[in-house]
Symmetry: C2
């Protein structure tokens, strides 16, 4: 076996740890649901993160790297995001899922081009199922429908989520000593390019559910 | 379509809600893990509960019953168990998973005989994967190996878990107006028989990991 692609190892470690944290936070946020149906929906979304986690860590193990080792550099950088974006109610919880999934998926789609065949396919496999975004979008629209003033509060919340996510991206770039920047370079991209695209995609997603940038 | 088997509907509602609650509690307990590997293992166990939840609620929907409706009678009866058995550390968390899975599976195996073909198969499909019990057993043995005094504390904890589970079974039987008792009758069994078997199986499982009854 040839030496593992160290940029891919770093990326899989980052994404795997992101999935583990997202699982943890979504599972906790599910307690904010107003009924069992909604609680189960967010819990299923959380469980989906663990399936992805398993695929990524299986790949790391196949590459001869322990998942813990690959995840370690990102632990602090990712935790701060969730610590500073704790939803206070159901509307904030589904908005966080909606915004967070979009940002993550936008990042994964961009960086996947820097990887070769099977690793690239794996990364595209861990994109979120669109039915989760549809569920979250429906819930956000329902919250605004029930009380139009919610739109202002959720718009502000979504901007905060974007801001925290972008500052997390900066911390990640600082933590990994250039591994992700190298991958982006291979994909013919760079960090400012990614941030710009994420911000644009975020704006589109916000408009789609009646929130302002 | 013939009228749904009301005893099966009740049972699926009970088990589905049990899975949803187990997901929630295991996900929270995973935070007690001493490292990322163990945290991921308990999180995966939690995620597995949601897969089972989905199978059961899909079946309920196919039977023309909304999952919420089928789960409603059991909400109070099941919640009290978890509220009164909150683990304080990792050793208690894995012991709770070990004991709880065994009791649930023992109950499911016993009552499955009261159901017809596909419903019976479904129930046997939601039994826990034995690798989770192996993981929990390894962790319990490791905790006792690291500090032999832990055995006494965990033995007492496991007895409390059994006691709370049996009293939960009494609350469930009271909540469902005889539906489960009817199923047990079809399986040629009764409530005292189930309780006796669960208690015996519990004793065997305890000895296997070095705990006392």
């Amino acid at each position: 076996m040839s030496a593992p692609d160290s940029a891919a190892v770093g990326l899989f470690g980052l994404v795997a740890y992101g999935e583990l944290l997202a699982f943890d936070r979504l599972a906790a946020d599910a307690r904010l649901a107003p009924d069992l149906r909604r609680r189960a929906a967010l819990s299923e979304l959380a469980a989906g993160e663990m399936a992805h986690y398993r695929w990524l860590t299986d790949r790391l193990t196949a590459l001869g790297v322990t998942p813990e080792e690959a995840m370690a550099p990102y632990v602090e950088a990712l935790r701060a995001y969730h610590d500073s974006t704790e939803p206070r109610d159901w509307a904030e919880a589904v908005t966080k899922a909606y915004v967070g999934d979009a940002i993550t998926d936008g990042f994964l789609r961009g960086i996947a081009d820097g990887l070769a065949g099977p690793d690239r396919a794996l990364l595209l496999d861990v994109l979120h199922d669109s039915r989760y975004a549809e569920f979250a979008a429906t819930e956000i629209r329902a919250a605004i429908g029930a009380d139009p003033r919610t739109a202002g509060r959720l718009s502000m919340w979504a901007r905060r989520l974007l801001g925290e996510a972008l500052s997390q991206a900066g911390r990640v770039a600082a933590a990994d000593r250039g591994a992700l920047a190298a991958l982006l370079g291979r994909a013919g991209d760079d960090v400012p390019g990614v941030l710009r695209r994420l911000t644009e995609a975020h704006a589109t997603r916000m408009s789609a559910v009646g929130l302002n940038n």
